[in-house]
C-alpha cells in the first residue's frame, strides 16, 4: 500500500509543519522584502511563514476584528502601538524606516528630473496610496503639499501602495508617489524617472513590527521570526532594499 503510506507521511508532515506556521500581516510596501526574509527564515528551519499583504489600515482593522495573524509588519507606528495599548499586541520595535519616491514609468521621462516633470504637467494623473489607510499615502499627501504642487491635478488612490504602484507601472497613471523599495527591485531597471523625496518633506515612516497576542497559542515560531527580523542578516537585507534602519 505505497499510496496510503505516502498519504500518511504527508499528513504527519503537514501536522509537524502546522506547529511552526507564522501568519504574518505585512504592509504592502514591504511584501517583497518580507518574501525574501521569509525564505531565509524558513531555510533556517524554525518555521513556515504565511504572508498576507494589504494596506496597514486594512490589516489593522482585520486584526482588531480578530484576524488570526501572529505578526504584524506595519508601515507606521501608530496602528501597532494602538494594538499594544489595547492589549492585543506586544514587543513593538521599528524594523525599517520607509522612504518615499516620486516615479513615472514613462520611458520618455528617463533621466529627467521627475519632480520638475510632475510640476510642469498639471494635467497628469498622480497615483498615491489611500492616505486614510496607507501610511505611504499620508506621506505622499504631505510631500505633495511640501513641493508646492497646488494644481488641481487628478489624484487617484490605490487600495494600498501596491495598487498605486500597479497604476504607475501599467501607465494608467503617469506619476506615482510610492515606496522607494518598490522601485528599486533587484535585477530590474526602472524605465522612467525617479525622484527620492527628501526625508524632511514628510513625517518619518517608522515601520513597526509587533507580536499579535493570541491567547490560544504559544507563538514560538512567531517569536523566532521577530527575533530573526532583528538579526544582522535581516537588517542587511532590509537596508539593501532601500529602507533606512533605526
Amino acid at each position: 500500500m505505497p499510496r496510503i503510506s505516502l498519504i500518511l507521511l504527508l499528513l504527519s508532515l503537514s501536522e509537524a509543519v502546522v506547529a511552526g506556521v507564522v501568519h504574518v500581516a505585512v504592509a504592502a510596501n514591504f511584501l517583497e522584502p518580507a518574501r525574501e526574509l521569509a525564505a531565509r527564515f524558513e531555510a533556517g528551519g524554525a518555521g513556515i511563514v504565511r504572508l498576507s499583504s494589504g494596506s496597514t489600515g486594512k490589516l489593522y482593522a482585520q486584526i482588531v476584528a480578530g484576524a488570526p495573524f501572529d505578526v504584524f509588519l506595519a508601515a507606521d507606528d501608530t496602528r501597532p502601538l494602538k494594538l499594544v495599548e489595547a492589549g492585543k499586541a506586544s514587543q513593538a520595535f521599528v524594523y525599517a524606516l520607509g522612504r518615499l519616491s516620486l516615479v513615472s514609468a514613462d520611458p520618455s521621462l528617463a533621466g529627467r528630473d521627475c519632480r520638475e516633470a510632475l510640476l510642469a504637467d498639471p494635467e497628469a494623473t498622480l497615483a498615491v496610496a489611500n492616505p486614510d489607510t496607507a501610511p505611504y499615502g499620508r506621506a505622499a499627501a504631505e510631500a505633495l503639499a511640501a513641493i508646492g504642487d497646488g494644481s488641481s491635478r487628478r489624484i487617484v488612490k490605490g487600495d494600498s501602495v501596491a495598487q498605486a504602484m500597479h497604476f504607475v507601472t501599467s501607465r494608467a497613471a503617469r506619476f506615482g508617489l510610492v515606496a522607494a523599495a518598490q522601485v528599486s527591485r533587484p535585477g530590474t531597471a526602472w524605465p522612467g524617472c525617479r525622484w527620492d523625496v527628501p526625508a524632511g518633506l514628510y513625517a518619518p515612516i517608522r515601520q513597526v513590527a509587533v507580536l499579535v497576542i493570541d491567547p490560544g497559542s504559544r507563538n514560538d515560531a512567531a517569536r523566532a521570526f521577530l527575533e530573526f527580523l532583528r538579526s544582522a542578516e535581516a537588517r542587511a537585507l532590509i537596508s539593501a532594499r532601500d529602507y533606512g534602519l533605526p
Partner: protein, 224 residues
C-alpha cells in the same frame, strides 16, 4: 449622513442609471437576435454575453487597465479623440459597467422574447407593419415584464458593483468613489457608523427594488 456619503450614493445612482439606459438599448437587439436565430454564432455570442457572470471582476478590471490605459493603443486612441483618459474616470466606469452588467440585461430579455414566440411579430408584419414598427408596438408591450426585469437587474447589479470599480476607479470622490467603495473605505478606517448607514441604505434600496419588481411581475402574470 455626511456629504461624502451622499455624494457616493448619487454617483452610484448616476452610474447605474446611465448603464441601465444604454444597456437596454444595446441588449434589446442582441437578445432579439439570440432568441430568433439558429446561426452558428449563437452559441459563442451567448457564451461571451454570459462571461461576466462567471469571470471574477478582477479579470475585467485587469484587462481594462491593461488595454485602456493612456499608454496602450486603444486607450491612447480614446485620449486622442476625447481629450480625456478612460482610466480613473466616470466614463471608464460606465464602459466597465456596460460589460459587467451585460448578461443581466440580455438574459431576461432573451427569455421574454423566446416565451413570446414569433407569431404576433409575424402577424403584425402581415398586416403591413414594418419590422421596427412591429417590434415597438407589438413585441415591446408584450415583453414588458422582461424589460422591467432586465432594467431592474442591470440597475441593481451596477449599484452593487465593487470589484471592477476597486480595480479601475482610483477612489476619486464624485467621479469613481461609488457607494460600495465608500463602504469599503469606512470599514477599513473603522468608521463603522458610516459603514452601517450606507450599508443599510443599500440593503433597503435593493430589497425595495426587487420586491417592487416581483410584485409587479406577479400581478401582470395573474392578470393575463
Amino acid at each position: 449622513m455626511t456629504a461624502a456619503s451622499i455624494e457616493s450614493i448619487l454617483l452610484s445612482l448616476r452610474l447605474a442609471g446611465i448603464t441601465t439606459v444604454i444597456l437596454l438599448l444595446v441588449a434589446t437587439p442582441i437578445a432579439w437576435w439570440l432568441s430568433n436565430t439558429r446561426h452558428l454564432l449563437k452559441g459563442p455570442v451567448q457564451a461571451v454575453v454570459a462571461l461576466p457572470i462567471v469571470l471574477p471582476p478582477t479579470v475585467l478590471g485587469f484587462y481594462f487597465i491593461a488595454f485602456l490605459n493612456p499608454a496602450a493603443p486603444l486607450g491612447a486612441l480614446w485620449v486622442d479623440v476625447t481629450g480625456s483618459s478612460l482610466t480613473f474616470s466616470f466614463t471608464g466606469l460606465v464602459i466597465a459597467s456596460l460589460l459587467y452588467s451585460l448578461p443581466f440585461a440580455v438574459q431576461p430579455l432573451q427569455s421574454a422574447f423566446e416565451t413570446l414566440g414569433r407569431q404576433e411579430f409575424e402577424a403584425a408584419q402581415t398586416l403591413g407593419a414594418s419590422r421596427f414598427d412591429a417590434f415597438v408596438s407589438v413585441i415591446v408591450p408584450l415583453a414588458l415584464p422582461g424589460f422591467v426585469s432586465a432594467a431592474v437587474l442591470t440597475f441593481a447589479h451596477t449599484l452593487g458593483e465593487f470589484g471592477v470599480v476597486l480595480m479601475v476607479g482610483g477612489n476619486i470622490p464624485g467621479e469613481t468613489r461609488t457607494v460600495s467603495i465608500a463602504i469599503y473605505d469606512y470599514v477599513e478606517t473603522l468608521d463603522y457608523a458610516a459603514a452601517h448607514t450606507l450599508s443599510l441604505v443599500l440593503l433597503v434600496a435593493a430589497f425595495t427594488i426587487l420586491l417592487a419588481t416581483f410584485v409587479y411581475n406577479g400581478r401582470r402574470r395573474s392578470a393575463t
